[in-house]
C-alpha cells in the first residue's frame, strides 16, 4: 500500500477549562489515502470538528502527530506551514457566512489564487469560470453576490473556493447539514464527481450516518473523543462491530412505515466530556457492558480486513460469520 496522504498518530486536543481539561480529542490514530473519502460520524460534542481543526492546524494539537505525505506538520510555525496549507482546504456548514459580503462570487473564488500569486488576472478569470462550471454554477454567477444565493448554491461557491488551489485533501465539516433534503443529494453527488475527476481526498464529517454511506469509502465512528470503530463503508453498514455503531444505525428513522418500530428506545445520553466514564467510555449506555468494560479501556484493534474496533465484546464480524457461529454452537 502507498504511504498515506494524511496520517494522525495518537492525536490529542485537550482544552483547559475551569473544571479541568476537556478531552475533546483523546488519542486518535487514522490515515487517509490519496483519492480516498474517509467519513467521520458521531453524536454532537464527540470531537469531530475539533479533530478537523487540529488536523488542518487551526488548533495546535496538545499531543500526538499530524503527518501530511510523511512530513510531520504538528508543530510547524505559521510560515513553515504555508506550503502545506495550500494542500489542505476546509469547507463548513455555511462557508459563505464567514466571507466578505461585499465581494462577488468571482472575486471570492479568485481570492485564494491572488493570495498565492497564481496566474494573471486574465488566467484567473478563466480559472474562475472553469471552477464555476465544475461546481454546477453558470459563468454569470461570477458577477453576483453570494447572499442572493440559496443554501445549496452558497455551498457550491464554498466548494469552488476550496478547490481553487487544487488541494489534495478537503476537510468537509457538516457541509450538507443545513441544506434541504432535496439539495443534499445534489451536493453529495457533485463532491463525488469532483473526487472522481481530480483524485482529491475528503475527510467528510457529518452526524448523518445514512448519508455518509453514499459518499465515503471508509467510515470512522467517534465517541467522546475516541475512535471506536473504523471500516470500509459497506462493512460498517452490513456488519457493524461496535455496540455504539449498532446504536447509531438503529436510531436512524427508516423511510418506510412498514418498518416502523414502536419500542421505547431508552438509550441514555452522552456523558459530559469533563467527566469521562472509566474503562470503556461507552459502558454507561452499552447493553453488553461487563465488569471488564468498566475497569479497562479497550484498545482499537484492526483485523486483516481493515476493520478496526475498540470493544472487549465486539459484535460478530459479518453476518456469514455469525451464521457459522450459530451453526457451530
Amino acid at each position: 500500500m502507498n504511504a498515506p496522504l494524511l496520517e494522525l498518530d495518537n492525536l490529542q486536543m485537550h482544552f483547559p477549562t475551569r473544571q479541568g481539561p476537556l478531552k475533546a480529542v483523546d488519542g486518535i490514530s487514522l490515515s487517509i489515502q490519496a483519492g480516498e473519502t474517509l467519513g467521520l460520524v458521531g453524536e454532537s460534542g464527540c470531537g469531530k470538528s475539533t479533530l478537523a481543526r487540529a488536523l488542518i492546524r487551526l488548533h495546535r494539537p496538545t499531543g500526538g502527530r499530524v503527518l501530511l505525505d510523511g512530513q510531520d506538520i504538528t508543530t510547524l510555525s505559521d510560515s513553515a506551514l504555508k506550503p502545506y496549507r495550500r494542500r489542505m482546504q476546509m469547507i463548513f456548514q455555511d462557508p459563505v457566512a464567514a466571507l466578505n459580503g461585499r465581494m462577488t462570487v468571482g472575486e471570492l473564488i479568485a481570492e485564494p489564487l491572488e493570495i498565492m500569486n497564481i496566474g494573471t488576472p486574465a488566467t484567473r478569470r478563466k480559472r474562475v469560470k472553469d471552477l464555476l462550471d465544475k461546481v454546477g454554477l453558470g459563468a454569470d454567477a461570477a458577477n453576483r453576490f453570494p447572499h442572493s444565493f440559496s443554501g445549496g448554491q452558497r455551498q457550491r461557491v464554498g466548494i469552488a473556493r476550496a478547490i481553487a488551489l487544487e488541494p489534495e485533501l478537503v476537510v468537509c465539516d457538516e457541509p450538507i447539514s443545513a441544506l434541504d433534503v432535496s439539495i443534499q443529494a445534489q451536493i453529495v453527488n457533485m463532491l463525488s464527481d469532483l473526487k472522481r475527476d481530480t483524485g482529491l481526498a475528503y475527510l467528510f464529517i457529518t452526524h448523518d450516518l445514512s448519508m455518509l454511506r453514499h459518499i465515503a469509502d471508509r467510515i470512522g465512528v467517534m465517541y467522546l473523543g475516541k475512535l471506536v470503530e473504523i471500516a470500509p463503508s459497506e462493512a460498517l453498514h452490513v456488519a457493524p462491530r461496535h455496540p455504539y455503531t449498532e446504536l447509531l444505525w438503529s436510531a436512524i428513522p427508516v423511510p418506510d412505515p412498514a418498518a416502523r418500530r414502536d419500542d421505547a428506545f431508552e438509550t441514555g445520553e452522552v456523558p459530559s466530556p469533563l467527566d469521562i466514564p472509566t474503562g470503556c467510555r461507552f459502558h454507561t449506555r452499552c447493553p453488553y457492558a461487563s465488569p471488564l468494560c468498566k475497569a479497562t479501556e479497550p484498545p482499537l484493534k484492526t483485523g486483516a480486513d481493515g476493520h478496526g474496533v475498540a470493544c472487549h465484546h465486539p459484535l460478530p464480524s459479518s453476518p456469514s460469520t455469525a451464521q457459522q457461529e450459530i451453526e457451530h454452537a
Binding site: 453524536e43 439539495i183 443534499q184 445514512s210 446504536l247 447509531l248 428513522p253
Partner: protein
Amino acid sequence: MTAPLLSLRDLRTEYRTDRGTVQAVRGVDLTLYRGEILGLVGESGSGKSVTCMSILKLLKRGGHITSGSADYDGTDLLRLSEGQLSRVRGDKIGVVFQDPMSALNPTMTVGRQVEEVLLQHRKISKKDARARAIELFKLVRIPSAETRIDNYPHEFSGGMRQRVMIAIALACDPDLLIADEPTTALDVTIQRQILALLKELRDRLGMAIILVTHDLGVIAETADRVMVLYGGQIMEEARVADLFEAPQHPYTRGLLAAIPDPRQSGGALTPVPGSPPDMRNPPSGCPFAPRCPKAMAICLTPPDLYGAGDALHLRPAQRTRCWLADPAVPAELMEAT
C-alpha cells in the same frame, strides 16, 4: 363519524417585509381528528411553521392572516380576541418548538415554569401545582424528577430540555399538541427517544399531534397521516402507508428518491434539481413546475388538489395537487414544455 378536532379552511398568511410581501401560506386546508398524528413535511420555507403559528395567531411582526378559518372544537380560532386566545394556548393546545432554549426562561427553574402554566389556566394551589409538575416530569421520563424540577434550563442537555418543553405543553392536558421540528436540533439517538415518547403520550392521553418535520423518515416512523407542503401549498395528502407505497405527486416522488434509506446499500442518490421558489415572487402556476421532470404547458396554470376518499372518511383521501392527477385534462394539453 366523529367531527374533526381542527379544521383549517383556505388559510392564507403573508409576511410584509421591507423587501416585499412573502406569500408564506397560500390556501391550506387541514383536517385533524382526535388522537391522530398528522405529519406536515416539506423543505425549509415551504410554510410549515407559518401554518402552525397561524392556527394560534402567534405570528411574528409583519405576519398577516389574509383569509381562512380554523374551526377548533366548534370555535373559529382566527376570530378570537387576544384574551380569548391566550386561554386556549397552553390549555387546550400545547406547543413545542425546535429550540427549547429560546422558549424557556433561563432565570427560572423548570419546575416553576411548569407551575406557572398550571396556575395561569387552572384553579390550583401552589402545592398541587408542584406535585403535578413532578408527575409531568415523570410522564416525559425525566430521571430523578423530584430533584430535577429545581434545576435551571442550562443544567439540562438538549434532549432533556425538549422533554421539559413537552411537560410544559402537556401541563393542562391539551387535546392538541403542535410540535414544530421538535427533534431537528437533536442527535438521532435522542430524536428516536423523543419520537417514541410522543407516540406513547398520544396512546396514553389520546391527544392529537401536528408533527412538523423536514424528514420523511420521521414521518414514516411517527405519523398516521401526512401532508406534503411546497411553496405554501399542499402538494399531496395521504395516509402515511399510502404516501410511501404509492406517492402520486412528482415532488413527493423526487423527495423519496433523494433521501438515503439506512437499510439499502450505498451508491449514487437521485437529487431533485434546482432549488425551492422565492415566496416573494412564487411561480404563477404549479410551484414545483421549475423543478418538475414532468412539467407541461398546462402547468403554468395552478392545479387543484385532486382525488377523494370515500364520503364517510373511513379511508381519508389521498389528494394530489398536480395536473397529472386531473382525470379531466385533455390529452393535447399534456405535451411536455
